[in-house]
Symmetry: C2
């Protein structure tokens, strides 16, 4: 039983009364700030991105927030609370997009945070805690080979080698961040130890909520991701003149892996011990000619799990399997590389409980679920109790212009943030900074 559920006495109807139109107009307005002829593109480190932030900063200011950039170029709007000694409650996400992306991924989380502030103002509520709305810098994979740049900085996980990453033109990430207003030499200033809780609303980017007719997903943890590159080398023999027993056909071995990844993935998924998913997303063969036996095949396999030990287990299983597939196809397994590994980030159980109670009061149907995608929340979970809320994505589409979440779903998400924020604000367990959740070391989106 949540200690605060009896303290808050606002009737459900009042909590639910997000100004859905206002939130929707904001989403659509921010969406118009896009590279022309290429909707919806507002890439981090571009003039377009700065234009979007300028618009956003004006909205923050209009809502009475004090707007600043931290030394990692995260844009933060702050509302003072009743007790200046208390750590802050943060609501955040990001305003950058992938190339030809959508209008919801990231933006909804920032604008719903803004809407929560407006709801507080409209109702004359001043929480005990200061409230901050954060637009994290560069959450999407950037041209510098890194994602979640701002949340890495805030959690102290943006290191010097990363700052030296370069884009195709040779510009360092540090220089690009400086263009956005960061102070790369003073990144320690962006690191926070004054956060009582972190909340993030995001579109699901999948079809689980839609297919289940569920209003909101309450995220129990953000998956860890293991990406493994496997390469097979054989011989580019003539497809007409080389009998089967003399072939060294790498596509045979690669197909074996594709099938096995699905089979292993399904066997893990039905264990019912947490979310697991695995995918072979990349496959290239050479010479890729109809009359030549494929001499080289390269795959990139991905496993994502709430349970970190499963990633090791999956990697080990794939290691053994790719050896035997190579042997069976009479080819060489010329590479087996773990190209990236991030550990799972569990969401905070207390914050999650407040979300459950708030959803019940709002009469929203919920599903506990893992986040299969990486998010800024995975980094924030390093330094504060953190949790996420998902709302349905139409057809599960994301990172494309067709990305869509209905206005009602957007306002459900904002209402849930509002209600949960009040509950957390009222919960004495959040009067001090909680011990950071450990275990998550990095996340890839």
């Amino acid at each position: 039983m949540d200690q605060d559920s009896s303290q808050r006495k606002l009737p459900p109807s009042q909590n639910r009364s997000v100004d859905a139109d206002r939130l929707w107009q904001d989403l659509m307005a921010l969406g118009t700030i896009t590279d022309p002829g290429r909707p919806y593109t507002r890439r981090c480190f571009t003039h377009r991105f700065v234009e979007g932030r300028r618009w956003l900063a004006n909205r923050f200011s209009e809502a009475g927030l004090a707007v600043r950039l931290d030394t990692g170029a995260n844009m933060i709007g702050r509302m003072q609370g009743r007790d200046p000694s208390l750590p802050a409650l943060l609501i955040g996400s990001h305003s950058d997009t992938v190339p030809s992306g959508g209008r919801f991924d990231g933006m909804l989380g920032v604008l719903a945070g803004l809407e929560v502030i407006r709801m507080l103002r409209d109702r004359g509520i001043v929480p005990r805690h200061p409230i901050e709305i954060v637009d994290f810098l560069g959450e999407e994979p950037s041209d510098y080979g890194l994602s979640c740049i701002g949340s890495r900085a805030m959690s102290g996980l943006l290191n010097d080698p990363m700052l030296d990453f370069k884009n195709a033109s040779g510009e360092t990430l540090a220089a690009a961040m400086a263009r956005m207003g960061a102070e790369p030499s003073a990144l320690a200033g962006a690191r926070r130890s004054d956060i009582a809780a972190y909340l993030e609303l995001h579109i699901e980017q999948g079809r689980v909520l839609e297919s289940g007719g569920t209003n909101v997903g309450l995220v129990t943890g953000i998956v860890g991701i293991a990406r493994i590159e496997i390469e097979f080398t054989g011989a580019a023999d003539h497809a007409g003149t080389t009998p089967f027993h003399l072939r060294r056909d790498t596509l045979i071995a690669a197909s074996e892996i594709v099938t096995a990844v699905r089979r292993i993935g399904e066997s893990y998924a039905v264990r019912n011990e947490g979310y697991f998913i695995a995918t072979t997303g990349c496959l290239d063969i050479e010479p890729n000619a109809s009359n030549v036996v494929p001499a080289r095949a390269r795959l990139v396999v991905e496993g994502r799990a709430e349970n970190g030990s499963w990633l090791s287990e999956f990697t080990d299983e794939l290691d053994a399997l790719s050896r035997s597939a190579a042997k069976a196809a009479n080819v060489e397994r010329s590479a087996f590389r773990l190209i990236s590994l991030s550990e799972p980030a569990p969401c905070d159980a207390r914050v999650h409980r407040h979300l459950v109670a708030a959803a019940a009061e709002l009469e929203l149907s919920t599903a506990d679920m893992a986040s299969g995608a990486g998010h800024d929340a995975a980094f924030m979970a390093q330094i504060a109790p953190a949790a996420m809320v998902f709302v349905p994505s139409r057809d599960g589409r994301s990172h494309c212009p067709e990305e869509w979440t209905a206005a009602e779903d957007c306002s459900n998400g904002a209402a849930l943030l509002f209600e949960a924020l009040l509950r957390i604000d009222a919960d004495d367990a959040f009067l001090q900074c909680a011990r950071p959740v450990t275990g998550a070391r990095g996340v890839t989106s």
Copy 2:
């Protein structure tokens, strides 16, 4: 029992005494005529190709051959026989190469023919039949989307739509042929009905002879080829957020096909009713990103068979299989297209018997085998009794600079052509043009 085997009384030692050095020097010399820095490249329709032919025409003339181009721009060197009323015995192959090809594929057949002429001259032998050595135009796949251009012309199978094929610059095949000395408006003049037999020596382009330690392969037939394009369409879902049961993963279906093609191929191959081989040589997926479920997969599958009905059976089996693979993976089979089909071309049994007897006399070990690759001989088999001889390819390599056939193997091939030619010349069954072999309608190399 071949009727002529008792008539020919030259001792084996004399037949075997090909001037191996002379043949080898020719091969190496022709190999030096290549695009500089890109050995060995002498593409049809280029200046380099014309330069190679000029060198070749000089060698033909030196050997006493009358050199001409037919209206299909096949270069022909002719030696008159004792009886001007007899149809000709042809030895042919091609002097063009693939880009960055080798020094043997095609060239060996033409230069061994030249060596046979020199052996006849050296020994003062004038056969009854006229002998022609042919360098067919453009046997390798050309920039105009067609292979075996010259042998198609000679067999009457180069039609007007083919002449209209264009290269990337928009030049028609007809115009390109004219540049090589052809008269595209008078192609009927290239069509032959005066050929008593056709012989072609070629490198195996496979490892069967090498792995069996066999001197020569006696080709029983040239495979027909069915090329089938299969395309699956699914959905580019997020690899982290889309559970298995909601996925439409086209790579799962494609891998099923790759595995099945091998399985079906092996089951046909062990029937022992002729040569069969199948390959998946092309596979492309989209978007081919590690964190996105493959939404599109396109394969090109090839079946090659001595037995034409197997190609239909294979195509039907693949049709059913790709439907069920699509259904199982919850994707659409958006295309199933037979993109090319050529029927098998059986070699002539009488010519083959002379090759068997000649090899026995030369004490060469032989293996009857199908040609898994297409050759000019497949077109010549339309209009004359035709057969081919293969010699070993080191490591089975071909169409690459490493392509290699030992000098001794080259001279074995030339000796066998010489010996078989004399036997055919002495065989009264070849005094008139034989009925063309039917059934072969086209061949792709």
